[in-house]
């Protein structure tokens, strides 16, 4: 446990992993970077000027018996303005490889990762943020991205003579915040888009017979259980909204099918979404722009077609369902939560449980040892483990986080609902995998 009583990541995970089994964890965090508003603001909004939006990417991979078994990709967005401060957790992709030798409660594991991120203090990310535009101070003694090769070499020649090597002061090239000003009462949001697919991170794993795949309806219910659980355990019941939208389905049906109390325990669920707006409002000002997200893709498509200023939310949701990306009659959903957490997020991750990358490039490089591997048979899952472990050891003298499960085995009662289907986890988006072209 940390000083203020919050659980560390390994404690949280151990509590949902079976006792008597050992695991290893990769937790990568990208360099926090300034980004554009999550939702396109209306042109007249004054707030634009003093809003800071920061984006951070987290990538988790759980290993058992030297094999990758579960992976999760999450984006955290911090929005700071004089009016309010928001922390938004966007679940991008979650996946199992299907090669786990033992049964794991993937739903609980997923929930624990989300709880962990909910607890993280935003100031952890704000220590060093890469700005959108860097200071251009024409400092000719620095080697920057635009410095020509020839110039860089002459600078290096000069530096050889200076001994010891001067530390280049690069602080001014980053945004740092030691406090967040304004309202320190963080609003926490969670967003995700559910859509069934064969695989998301463990490409090829759908070929693995042991991997369960859920259809749209089962997937939706699987996630609803997790998110509803979080709403109940982590959010102030008097200060939380939980929303579910199923494009293509009318409100009554969604309500009756998914929000009837069988699936959800919280009373705060309604049909809709947390980005507001009514049917007649322009969609562009109420739909967030997330990476690899079908909703965002459709918005960008509307811009290209020059319909963006003419499409209202009602039309948007209707057409979204009809997009080619979705096969006919596949159930997709948008789940959102917005509110205040019971506990203020003030947990600072320790060095053992997180590897903070110094650049996006480094992040992608390590991530690709897991996400770039092929998993149509077990070797991929072994390779990814070996490569991640060896790379961290060799380059950073860092080891994967080791944990031992502490959860006592339970006697399973026969259940009616399909929500407790074992160990399957698909989720979110189908990312067609681009083959990199061979160098010409």
């Amino acid at each position: 446990m940390s000083l203020n009583g919050t659980h560390t990541l390994d404690e949280l995970l151990a509590s949902v992993l079976p006792r008597g089994h050992d695991f290893e964890l990769l937790h990568l965090q990208d360099e926090p970077a300034q980004t554009h508003d999550i939702v396109t603001p209306m042109p007249t909004t004054q707030e634009r000027a003093d809003t800071l939006t920061v984006k951070i990417q987290h990538f988790f991979t759980l290993f058992h018996n030297k094999k990758a078994v579960f992976a999760l990709e999450i984006y955290v967005y911090l929005t700071l303005s004089s009016l309010h401060n928001t922390k938004l957790i966007f679940v991008s992709k979650a996946d199992t490889s299907g090669y786990c030798d033992i049964k794991l409660r993937m739903g609980d594991i997923t929930k624990v990762f989300l709880q962990y991120l909910i607890s993280v203090d935003p100031l952890h990310y704000l220590r060093k943020v890469k700005p959108l535009r860097r200071v251009n101070d024409h400092d000719e003694s620095l080697i920057r991205k635009g410095t020509s090769v020839e110039r860089s070499l002459r600078i290096l020649a000069v530096r050889v003579d200076l001994s010891p090597h001067p530390c280049q002061n690069t602080d001014k090239f980053y945004i740092t915040r030691n406090d967040v000003g304004g309202d320190t009462n963080w609003v926490t949001k969670i967003c995700l888009f559910t859509r069934p697919a064969d695989d998301y991170l463990f490409i090829g794993s759908s070929k693995n017979a042991k991997k369960h795949k859920l259809n749209g309806d089962q997937l939706l219910k699987w996630w609803m259980k997790i998110i509803d659980g979080l709403v109940c355990t982590d959010f102030d019941p008097n200060n939380v909204s939980a929303r579910l939208r199923v494009p293509g389905e009318d409100t009554g049906r969604v309500s009756r099918t998914y929000l009837n109390g069988d699936l959800t325990q919280s009373n705060n669920w309604q049909v809709g979404d947390i980005f507001g707006g009514t049917g007649n409002d322009l969609a562009v000002f109420h739909v967030p722009l997330f990476p690899d997200d079908p909703k965002s893709r459709f918005i960008r498509h509307l811009v290209q077609e020059n319909r963006i200023m003419k499409t209202n939310l009602k039309t948007y949701w209707m057409e979204l369902q009809e997009r080619q990306e979705f096969k006919l009659s596949v159930i997709v959903s948008v789940i959102g939560v917005e509110g205040h957490t019971k506990k203020i997020p003030d947990y600072l991750p320790n060095d053992r449980e997180i590897f903070i990358c110094s650049s996006r490039r480094q992040f992608r490089y390590i991530r690709s040892y897991v996400a770039g591997e092929e998993y149509d048979n077990e070797e991929g899952t072994l390779e990814s483990y070996v490569n991640v472990r060896d790379y961290l050891e060799l380059r950073y003298s860092k080891k994967l986080l080791k944990l031992s499960g502490t959860r006592e085995p339970e006697i399973r009662k026969p259940v009616v609902a399909s929500t407790t289907k074992r160990s399957a986890i698909p989720v979110t988006l189908l990312q067609p995998r681009k083959k990199a072209k061979p160098a010409k």
Binding site: R133, R134, T147, E150, R151, G204, G372, D376, N377, K435
Partner: protein, 283 residues
């Protein structure tokens, strides 16, 4: 201590030596480019004579090329279809030219046949030159980086001079030179539409970003580096017997390829090696 000094000195000279190499490789690149273009001159002359004898050659090439289509409006094709000849000439081919001419300077000439009551027969030549320009924008990470700058702030970019071309009559309302009312919303809209059309590209200079045909330099480069050199390839691709063999090079069909399933244990390892093949192709 003396040994240490020797090593450091050597490092410094090495960096300076490599800096000189960077300058030298540019000269070598230019010499190679010059050599290549001198070989290509008679070759293109010969090739283009054959092309002249193939009906609708340029119509086929330009209408089939998706990159080209990205730059112009759909209505422009009515006139693009009437292009009977395209010729790119590199300025160093001109014996009278200054020895300092950049090897990358070139001109593109279009020969249009006319459309009765709409558009006259005409030949237009537009010249493009590499020019050193002050870089106005702040240098930031969103830049399409990679330009070799002597110092931050100056880059060599493609520029051009506007050339006169007679616009089609059907484009009268959007012809920027004819629009009198540039203030009203409708006037502005028409002006912009005109500037974005293929005919607007002939006015492109590269010195007024945001106020002229967008990405004019990319269209020029597309014609000079890709379409003109490879026009015969594009023509033959378009002639393939089966319609579904019309391919753009970047059709990523990886989604449609059958999967290389690995063979189960006990059989040969082909499958395994193929499996790793995909890993190598990481995004």
């Amino acid at each position: 201590l003396r040994l240490l000094t020797t090593i450091l000195y050597s490092n410094r000279d090495a960096f300076l030596g490599l800096a000189d190499c960077e300058v030298e490789i540019e000269t070598i690149d230019n010499d190679v480019e010059r050599f290549k273009l001198n070989k290509l001159k008679p070759f293109y002359e010969k090739r283009d004579k054959y092309i002249d004898n193939i009906d609708d050659f340029w119509k086929v090439v330009l209408s089939q090329n998706t990159d080209f289509a990205n730059y112009i409006r759909a209505s422009d094709f009515k006139y693009v279809d009437n292009i009977t000849k395209v010729v790119v000439k590199w300025l160093i081919w001109d014996e009278n030219s200054n020895a300092d001419i950049n090897v990358r300077d070139f001109s593109i000439t279009f020969h249009f046949k006319g459309i009765e009551h709409d558009f006259p027969e005409q030949s237009i030549t537009k010249v493009f030159k590499m020019t050193k320009m002050q870089s106005n924008k702040d240098f930031d990470d969103d830049d399409e980086a990679g330009e070799d700058n002597e110092t931050i702030g100056v880059e060599e970019v493609l520029t051009s001079e506007p050339v006169d071309i007679e616009w089609p009559q059907s484009y009268e309302s959007i012809n920027p030179s004819l629009i009198e009312d540039k203030r009203s919303p409708q006037g502005k809209k028409n002006y912009r539409q005109g500037m974005k059309s293929f005919f607007g590209w002939f006015k492109w200079t590269g010195k007024k970003p945001g106020k002229e045909f967008p990405h004019g330099e990319d269209l020029a480069s597309l014609l000079c580096d890709d379409i003109y050199p490879y026009c015969v390839k594009y023509y033959t691709e378009a002639q393939r017997d089966l319609e579904d063999e019309y391919s753009d090079s970047e059709d990523d069909n990886s989604d449609e390829e059958p999967l290389d399933l690995p063979k189960p244990e006990g059989e040969d390892e082909d499958g395994e090696s193929d499996k790793l093949a995909s890993k190598k192709r990481r995004v």
